[in-house]
Subunit: 332 residues, 2 copies
DNA sequence: CTGAAAGCGCTTACAG
DNA sequence: CTGAAAGCGCTTACAG
């Protein structure tokens, strides 16, 4: 058992022969006399002193901590986002508390509450279906929050994909291939990004006087079941637009499950690129989200808010997606 | 601007007409008179009071915070692990601070130091190549840490795959398919799990008097380059054992890059299952790690240590993998 | 550039 | 079961 207590500012101050305030100044990067500086550095190293963040947080009011709440980390889009958030936070001397809501508004409320207790300085949030800006604000109070991936309200900063346009472009691409009955595959239309994509898709169809086809189910198995039924029906869809990498996987699995020969698999275009997209046969075409820019933007807005920049007006950023046409959409 | 300060124990205490100690007891689940309990609950709700974790941490010595340090979250194995860690932590009222070391020992040292400053109560760590138990202990001092995925030393708790056996079994499976020149694909042998797999592989080969073939490079592009060379050489390998899902992807990409026809792609067996494994053609055979059990075990050991259970001896757990034979290994 | 004093919001013994 | 007092380790004004 290691019984040596960790050292404090006072220990360092005594060792150097200055006051604790001076040691504190040194660690906050405030000017300290040249000679003193070196001695504090030496003593701190020797005593293995590091400022205690819990004490700093209590006294200083800032925790140097960021919250990140996402649906789940096992979705590669969010995994990427989390990695980028962690990188950006690290650069700025911040640590990130990671929480997931599993698409459950109640769990999200609990996580928000946790973040409030821990007094995170700010929050990056991919809000759960059914949550509102007001409900969120209500839990975290004055904490700056910027939404990513899913727009919530003009009254809350957000950085998302230009969902409507991306879906419209994707749908038009499929239409140009000559498909007549393009179906959308998605989990829940309440999720704002899906709602926006749905509207973009409908708009593209309507200009050609075609009717939308919706295949929707909250979980993987149900969705696959519905899709299989659709695939086996007489006048089923002849192309698929998958609204997430989850949905794309569902489609591919359905093909597998029905043991469809390669030739009778429906052409398909998905949202979110994924590592194995080019390795699947045929290689999956996708609209790729600019996840690096989404996160960078979100983080920079967040730190403006944390810095208390009140002159910055509400930001509602929508970034264009990148169409990656491989072969699954019908391209050669 | 919300200028209403958040309320404190004192506010609640005053509202109820008891001392702050009593309010504190209520929130720590210590017996409080029946009637008082209800009034504290009511006042806390009304004042939106929640204990400030930074103050609790400073006074109580516990932060209710867990550190998780992994190589990166964009590897699906670690993404799963992180999700599970977050779930388990949540159940126990803990928040997790997520940090990544990007396979860089210096960055790991920095992250460990961060965790010390934030005074995490414990740490789950997938240690970077080249780090030692002693070096780690040296930074985090008395903080309990359990290693996952990569064994470090008998002197540090660890929960890993039974790497040697899994690699041996995998290699034997490939040998039974009749392959003569099985090559290993991996990033760095310094990574303990790879070292152990390498030994298991060698052992299987040696019993058949075959020579091992190593294709090793620290990054994706270099590895792919080496693999392509090997694939194009006269007496190149006739089967591949990929030591990580990264390596598996490298192999599939090399096949793609060389535009190898399906028939002349080398049979392959990978470590780590991944979402699209069954969707690739041919479906990828893998040894799946019991990631749920690895994390559950690690967390339960960690909380024993946090609880100060000194009678618990060092745990070095190795869990068996699960062979999933799809088609890429040569199985029909 | 530096120091002495106060206090952030809790929890911890100590009494009763 | 409850309260008064002290203190966790810092940083923040306030003086000088």
């Amino acid at each position: 058992m290691r019984m040596t207590k960790r050292s404090t500012v006072i220990d360092v101050a005594k060792a150097v022969g200055v006051s604790p305030s001076t040691v504190s100044r040194y660690f906050r990067g405030i000017t300290v006399a040249e000679g003193v500086r070196a001695r504090i550095a030496e003593a701190s190293a020797r005593l293995q002193y590091q400022p205690d963040e819990t004490a700093r947080a209590l006294r200083g009011g800032r925790t140097r901590t960021l919250g990140a709440i996402i649906p789940q980390v096992t979705n590669s889009f969010y995994a990427q986002a989390v990695q980028l958030i962690e990188d950006e936070a690290h650069k700025r001397g911040y640590a990130v508390i990671l929480l997931t809501h599993q698409e459950n508004a109640e769990q999200q409320a609990a996580q928000l509450s946790t973040l409030r207790r821990y007094r995170a300085d700010g929050l990056i949030l991919a809000p759960a279906a059914g949550s509102t800006a007001e409900g969120i604000r209500n839990v975290v109070h004055g904490m700056p929050v910027v939404a990513i991936d899913r727009f919530l309200s003009p009254a809350m900063d957000s950085v998302v994909l230009r969902n409507h346009d991306a879906a419209r472009t994707a749908t038009e691409h499929l239409l140009q291939h000559g498909y007549k009955r393009i179906a959308c595959l998605l989990s829940r239309r309440e999720i704002m990004s899906f709602e926006q994509r749905w509207n973009g898709y409908k708009e593209a169809l309507e200009s050609r006087r075609k009717a939308p086809i919706l295949i929707e189910a909250p979980n993987h198995d149900e969705l696959r079941y519905h899709l299989c039924s659709a695939l086996l029906s007489r006048k089923g869809p002849d192309a698929l637009l998958c609204f997430s990498n989850r949905a794309t996987r569902t489609a591919l699995q359905a093909y597998d499950e029905l043991a469809l020969p390669k030739t009778s698999r429906l052409p398909l275009l998905g949202f979110d690129d994924f590592e194995m997209a080019a390795m699947v046969d045929p290689a999956v075409s996708v609209v790729r989200q600019p996840v690096e820019n989404i996160v960078r933007h979100a983080i920079s807005i967040l730190f403006e808010r944390i810095a208390g920049n009140d002159s910055l007006e509400m930001q509602n950023v929508a970034l264009p997606g990148e169409m990656i046409y491989r072969h699954s959409c019908g391209c050669k």
